[in-house]
Point group: C2
Amino acid sequence: MDTKSIKQFAKLILKFGVNLQNGQCFELSCPVTEYKVARIFIDTAYEMGAKYARVRWNDEKVDASTYLNADEKTLTNVPKWFVLSKNELVEKNFCYVAIAADDPYAFKGVPEDKIARIAKARSKALKKFSDTVMANGIRWCVVSVPTLQWAKTVFPNSKKPEKDLWQEIVKTMRLDCDNPEQKWQEHVDNLIRHASRLNDFNFEFLHFKNSLGTDLKIGLAENHVWLSALEKAKDGVDFIANMPTEEVFTAPHRLKADGKLYSAMPLVYNGNIIDKFSLTFKEGKIVDYSAEKGYSTLKGLIETDSGTLRLGEVALIGKNSPIAKSGILFYNTLFDENASCHLAIGKAYPTTIKNGSSLSTTELKDLGANDSVEHVDFMIGTDDLTVTGITKNGEKIPVFTDGDWVI
Amino acid sequence: MDTKSIKQFAKLILKFGVNLQNGQCFELSCPVTEYKVARIFIDTAYEMGAKYARVRWNDEKVDASTYLNADEKTLTNVPKWFVLSKNELVEKNFCYVAIAADDPYAFKGVPEDKIARIAKARSKALKKFSDTVMANGIRWCVVSVPTLQWAKTVFPNSKKPEKDLWQEIVKTMRLDCDNPEQKWQEHVDNLIRHASRLNDFNFEFLHFKNSLGTDLKIGLAENHVWLSALEKAKDGVDFIANMPTEEVFTAPHRLKADGKLYSAMPLVYNGNIIDKFSLTFKEGKIVDYSAEKGYSTLKGLIETDSGTLRLGEVALIGKNSPIAKSGILFYNTLFDENASCHLAIGKAYPTTIKNGSSLSTTELKDLGANDSVEHVDFMIGTDDLTVTGITKNGEKIPVFTDGDWVI
């Protein structure tokens, strides 16, 4: 993509995503291959008045070689300076943008149980930081730019996969119009309306059913709040944590999920693909699971801690969302989760509970909001999905029919 | 350069440069644009038995934007985690390779006094680390790979500047032969012979003179030792701190330099060029200086602390060294200092004093070895340079005539 378009992309994210304020610090997490994009983000951040802007570089090829070859004890012993470097973002109220653009096959060949143990150690070491982020302690935004291997997976037959993927990203980001900012405003308002209607119903349960075999009744946490794109950070400034975003979401009750679900899309987790998997729940807990592909990776995820045996998010997305309508499988949760109703294993967003950001983990748990070092979304929405809301009076209200909103 | 050649390059450096041991940790400092080189280094390190290998990425375009735009107070307040991340290299006995490949004009447009203040703050914050490195507390090696802007400066009229620069680097690294390792062994032995002869003379003074106007008498530190390529780290393992290297070097006496010198080549320092400069010394101290280009940068360097007013290294290189014979001005100290006799402003290597690594800064200073947060080499050797050694008995021994060894 040309410099001008990338700059427009960066500007939209810095303004609508993290809502960078004059005099604020900014960090971008970026793959080294995308250094041209990073430079534009940094320059743009300074133009918008950033006090300081830096890049946290990463490279999945180096990571893969390290996961494969390095001494496991060294990798699971997360250095103190690394934790401090993340906590600094909170202490100095940085806003940060993370570019999620992994090769879905990045860690192919690395023993999945080793990856799981390393990921667990890192998640544990960074729990304080991720808890703060999930409670909107700072403003953050996850976005994507095409990296070669990822683009090749999405468009295996294309001669210019990166170009094709940029084009799709531009569409999902509503940058293919004259006034993207206005489009975003309208879009955000629309999502807020959906969330507001769900809050009015204040459902006790949601019942998911489709032809894949999914038949799952999920209780919602007490004092749950349906949220959408626009959130408020601790400092009172609005932000959008994912761009694109099409979801409205809330906290399920950690002790209330019964039935079985089947995945609707592959899930890329820690450089591996988990596909065609099922989870069986009893009283909120996963009591059985299967996967045609990536079983060990799924096992590693589910066995991370007691919280990864339970749900932390339920999100609704109609099949007519622009991403869903593109029909493209992105192999990237940022996009795929916005094309399909999804759930998350692990910690619930405290913000999806009334006043949740000021409650302790114990208080949140008492209301049903799950805790864990992890939070991993996975897709369950299909074209024939029905979602039925059940109110406290036992009234059944159709929320989704044939994969789209009817409420 | 092709992958196979880069691998050979990486192998030579990991073996002869830092002498990576089985089970050791390794860090590579690398510009993001050279991520392909970094990946090969990391893979090669693991093949050689590294316990853990990582990359510390940097990008001079991001740095330049930051130096130009960021709040100075934020930049001079070096975060604790960054210092810890460097100290970890010492605590865990990492060996590290730093790729020096800066665009000589990287920081053009940034106020030079601002750069100087930021550089000073960083040097001060990292003094413990750099002191350890200069005393060979860990094994390290500085090398170069061509980055586009640097290559363009060296070969402004070339259509393939990076390719041309790789070719020259390959030559200076003695990789353009059947058995580079044997060539390096011979080369190292040869440098050791030069150093050994100088140690036998145990000169009290060296007198530098050339047609540029340089006329400078430098006293050598008490108990000084001439060193060359091969050094021994604290853990007893040999290493070569610069590749290429052509120098033999020792510690001048901090209180004994009288006369004037003229630079023989431009000096790239903190993303700026200092050229056609002179320094006047009295009793070891710089009492006057001038520069046709980059005066403010030179001023910033000299005024860093009391130690940057004095010399910390004197190094001899004959005009027939392969780099000197190439006739190429590299605008990169790693190469240019190996084409020309040079001195350094700032801290002396404790290793250039007998048992210096186990002496305190005060003890070192008493012997004449300079201390500072900085150590910056600059070139003074010309084709007509004469260097005369003066022994403790006042005997004058020609060391260099017409820019080359005669001793």
